[in-house]
């Protein structure tokens, strides 16, 4: 629960804007203006401080009432032969209402970041993995290996909160923690310890990452590698890293699937996850998938429990039909398979729908600007600012309660979609 100490200052406010969902923010609210007083960063400042501009729903650019907009969406969905509900950047109840509506309107559901999350989900569905969660990392990690990802760009407080925290409950010497980057070099210094120890960096091109990961796994398993270097990294350096992994008591191998922009990145994630399993024959090691921006974990979770399947599930035949390739929003739009697109994006004004020939409905954060004015636009409230809600963190285990911080009068995604579902 968030407590209000003074009328306008909120303590322990959770942020839905990045996957680590820090919940120690101090926030000031004056009228409709929100600002972070303490524990902000680039991601959360933008998330909380983006001002409200437009408040009126629009049809083809003209202001209309909310009822008119809802009625228009209902007509579009009623006439649609292949609707897609995508984006899915919303909270728990927004996701619930979107999936209920997809079920009723025989739509396909997808998330704006499915390309990234599928890199992990496909591994889960093929071989599985051994993972850990943020509090375990904070207290136990002795070796952090970051694969192909620049963590601090997307999760600015990851190192402060999970690696260079003041103390571990197991009396670990925090300063002795090791950080190794494999693939990308970090863009900043968040991974440098407070004592000034820099992360070790083994750089390769993204395109070489699959090979580098495979060789590292092979060395961990005691295989002899004839090559001297792979992707520009000396095999002897990988051998040192393999040894560090074997010697560590609780290594954590982290990646952000959104950063792995290579073809079939799921295969590299799989190699990484299988290496972690191999390490656990003797010691402890865990994977840590970072992600979960814009409610993507929430969308996958709710979809899984309501339908049995994650995102990219199609209800056009009356039952859930999961296909991670065919039900990709972008592929469907590019192929002109979609006549009506419902785009949910309540967190970030920059996450607008892809341009397409489909009739487009946007339930978006106030302040969005469009390359192509959607047929219907409803500015909706942002979960955790304009209305209460719940969202999942990147680990898919912890979910946090989001608070209503101001009274903007903007409807929630749930309000709008539930009204549409009832009207259908």
């Amino acid at each position: 629960m968030t407590e209000m100490t003074k009328p306008e200052i909120w303590q322990d406010v959770p942020s839905p804007f990045c996957g680590i969902a820090s919940d120690d923010l101090q926030i000031k609210v004056e009228g409709l203006t929100v600002s972070i007083v303490e524990n902000g960063d680039d991601v959360t400042r933008k998330g909380f401080e983006t001002p409200i501009t437009d408040v009126s729903p629009r049809i083809n650019g003209k202001d209309v009432s909310l009822d008119q907009a809802i009625s228009h969406i209902t007509h579009l969905l009623r006439d649609s032969k292949q609707p897609v509900i995508s984006g899915m950047a919303t909270d728990l109840n927004g996701a619930r209402s979107a999936i209920a509506l997809a079920d009723k309107s025989r739509a396909t559901i997808d998330n704006m970041d499915s390309a990234a999350s599928m890199r992990n989900i496909l591994v889960l569905q093929d071989t599985g993995y051994m993972l850990t969660t943020l509090t375990e990392v904070r207290n136990r990690v002795d070796l952090l290996v970051v694969v192909g990802s620049d963590i601090e760009a997307s999760y600015p407080r990851f190192f402060e909160r999970m690696v260079w925290n003041k103390e571990s409950m197991f009396d670990q010497d925090i300063a002795s923690r090791e950080v190794v980057y494999l693939g990308k070099a970090p863009t900043g210094n968040a991974s440098t310890s407070p004592q000034g120890k820099k992360a070790q960096v083994l750089v390769c091109d993204d395109a070489d990452l699959p090979e580098v990961m495979s060789v590292l796994r092979a060395i961990v398993n005691g295989k002899v590698v004839q090559a001297k270097q792979v992707g520009g990294i000396a095999v002897s350096d990988l051998a040192v890293l393999a040894e560090q992994l074997k010697q560590a008591a609780y290594s954590v191998v982290a990646w952000d699937a959104g950063n792995l922009e290579i073809a079939h990145a799921e295969a590299t994630v799989q190699t990484l996850c299988e290496m972690v399993k191999d390490l656990n024959l003797d010691t402890r090691s865990s994977g840590l998938p970072l992600g979960g921006k814009e409610g993507s974990i929430t969308a996958n979770q709710v979809s899984a429990w309501q339908s049995g399947y994650p995102m990219r599930t199609n209800f056009s035949r009356g039952y859930p039909d999961y296909d991670p390739f065919l039900s990709d929003t972008k592929r469907m739009l590019d192929n002109d398979e979609v006549d009506t697109l419902v785009w949910l994006s309540s967190y970030n004004i920059d996450r607008t729908p892809p341009t397409s020939n489909a009739k487009t409905i946007v339930l978006g954060r106030s302040g969005m600007t469009f390359e192509q004015e959607p047929e219907v636009f409803i500015p909706v409230g942002t979960p955790g600012i304009d209305h209460a809600g719940r969202t999942f963190r990147c680990d898919g285990v912890v979910s946090i309660p989001l608070r209503k911080l101001r009274d903007s009068g903007l409807p929630s995604t749930f309000d709008v979609l539930t009204a549409v579902e009832q009207a259908l």
Partner: protein
């Protein structure tokens, strides 16, 4: 509005009613005594029908992180059982890890009106409640998992007094909105994080020096002293390990007479005799249960076919991973709180071990004398999906059928079991005890599981079919809080059940320790960990029912 269910043959063990013809009166969702002069608005003729309270599944994995991992992991399993949307029902999927909506519909269609999630990780409780909120018709609730959480182990390592532990247990139960306390591989999930690969009853956690036996005693005592009606719910050490029967007996005998529920005891009843070094320990286990009146157990029967195992016990699940079928599995360390492991599994009737597991479960049902202390579960979905309950009931009620199945199983396993010589057949009255009256008493539901005045009108009506599987698969009627939701085995209405909890009293000064603990070590604030009553009510469809406590107090 007064409804009379006329002329049914009632099996209501809570009131000692064994097959007597009686009328039932329902008003405002409750069963009432025969009113003196009120007009009956609806009458349903139940002459010749069997009437029981709605069934209660006291241990079923229906909500929470590991179940949802299982769902996401198994598209190929869902594909065989996808459910199309109807006017009444949402689409979904069934079989091993059904969608929440389908699970609710199917439970109701089998005459079940409540199910309890047995492994709610406090840190994941919010998700468990989200999923149960999306599970229609049935009532729900759950047991909060403790015993591998670092806060408890720290308290024990520093030898805190029992009162402090009671406060922590009550605080956790209250803020995770649970009705009971569960312990899974006591301390073992924690030990696995320190790379311990097994933890026997008297083996110490490497870091804390605390043993499973001590954890069980502390928690069982807390539950008793707090007056929580549901006894400490125990998934013991060494699940699935041949020879674990000795640990299980030691666990039951070592609890010093405190109330304790041993869950899926079939998985903990294995000896090491014979050529396969795997034998049935059910006779010894049943003997100990029969002797110790403080002990209850559910069986965790396995049935043959594909399923998925989802457990908090990642130490044991990790060890079992070579048996995953298909070969994919998940193990997680979770938040200095607990863990989980998910493995798809296929029980094969021509496997010696699986066949013997099937026999051990049935032997346990048949050798525990008191049906008030043994409960019908498959540990859904770990032993088999809950949809196999009617089949299991037939195995218990029909010796000929049971022995016919037995004769088709692995021949060496048949020789290793004396199941064929057990003549017992469960009666309808005993089935009603196991699945209704006993389950309600065990969970602590004062107003469920019986047909007396004041009880909720959760009622199931069957045709007395000689084939008990058919009978229990397709009730004639199911009433949920007085509303007819199933007719002729098919859903006709969708309602939303309540969430049952208990709210023990405790000293809230425990937060003076917990708040800085969360601040220093956790990645979530204490205030954000707590689940408010409003979150259970949620969009208005949910509700909380606070069940009465037992008399507590220091032992």
């Amino acid at each position: 509005m007064l409804t009379r269910l006329t002329g049914g043959k009632l099996y209501d063990p809570a009131h000692g009613v064994d097959g007597e013809v009686r009328d039932i009166y329902i008003r405002d969702g409750r069963i009432i005594n025969k009113p003196l002069d009120e007009k009956i608005t609806t009458e349903i003729d139940l002459r010749g029908k069997i009437v029981m309270a709605g069934a209660i599944d006291m241990h079923t994995h229906i909500g929470g992180g590991k179940v949802n991992i299982a769902r996401t992991m198994l598209p190929e399993d869902h594909a065989q059982d996808v459910i199309a949307r109807t006017e009444l029902m949402r689409s979904g999927c069934g079989h091993a890890a059904p969608s929440t909506l389908t699970a609710g519909y199917r439970y109701a269609e089998m005459g079940y009106t409540a199910g309890f999630e047995p492994a709610i990780l406090p840190i994941n409780a919010r998700q468990a409640h989200m999923e149960m909120h999306d599970t229609p018709i049935i009532d729900k609730g759950g047991y909060a998992m403790l015993g591998s959480d670092d806060f408890l182990l720290r308290m024990m390592a520093s030898n805190d007094d029992q009162q402090a532990i009671n406060n922590y247990v009550a605080w956790t139960l209250t803020h995770s909105q649970a009705i009971g306390i569960k312990v899974v591989n006591p301390g073992g999930i924690n030990a696995f994080k320190f790379n311990q690969r097994k933890l026997d009853l008297d083996e110490k956690n490497k870091f804390y020096g605390v043993t499973p036996r001590e954890i069980l005693l502390r928690l069982a005592r807390a539950v008793k002293e707090l007056g929580i009606p549901h006894p400490l719910h125990v998934h013991g050490c060494n699940l699935g390990v041949p020879g674990n029967l000795n640990t299980t007996i030691d666990t039951m005998e070592g609890i010093e007479g405190l109330p304790m529920h041993m869950t899926h005891i079939q998985f903990h009843s294995y000896g090491t005799e014979g050529d396969y070094k795997f034998s049935s320990g059910s006779a010894q286990i049943a003997e100990v249960i029969n002797k110790h009146k403080n002990i209850t157990a559910d069986v965790g029967q396995i049935l043959f076919g594909q399923t998925v195992t989802a457990s908090g016990d990642n130490m044991r699940q990790h060890a079992a991973h070579p048996h995953a079928h298909p070969n994919k599995w998940v193990s997680m360390d979770i938040e200095c709180d607990a863990g989980c492991g998910v493995l798809p599994f296929k029980y094969k009737d021509q496997s010696y071990v699986n066949a013997l597991q099937w026999m051990i479960g049935l032997e346990t049902f048949l050798m525990v004398d008191d049906p008030w202390r043994v409960f019908l579960t498959t540990d859904h979905p770990n032993g088999a999906p809950f949809t196999s309950y009617p089949h299991l009931i037939k195995l218990l009620m029909d010796k000929t059928f049971r022995n016919d199945v037995l004769s088709t199983l692995h021949p060496e396993a048949q020789k290793a079991s004396h199941l064929g010589s057990l003549d017992r057949e469960y009666s309808l009255y005993e089935i009603a005890i196991m699945t209704r009256a006993g389950a309600a008493r065990l969970v602590g539901l004062a107003d469920r599981g019986h047909l007396g005045a004041g009880g909720a009108a959760d009622i199931t009506v069957y045709t007395d079919h000689a084939d008990r599987e058919i009978m229990f698969s397709t009730p004639d009627y199911v009433f949920k809080d007085g509303r007819m939701v199933v007719k002729d085995g098919h859903l006709i209405d969708v309602t939303w059940g309540t969430t049952h909890v208990v709210k023990p009293e405790y000293d809230n000064s425990i937060e003076k320790e917990l708040k800085p603990y969360f601040d220093r070590y956790h990645t979530q604030k204490m205030g954000n960990f707590k689940i408010s009553d409003d979150e259970i009510v949620d969009d208005g469809r949910g509700s909380l029912t606070v069940q009465p406590l037992h008399k507590g107090g220091p032992i």
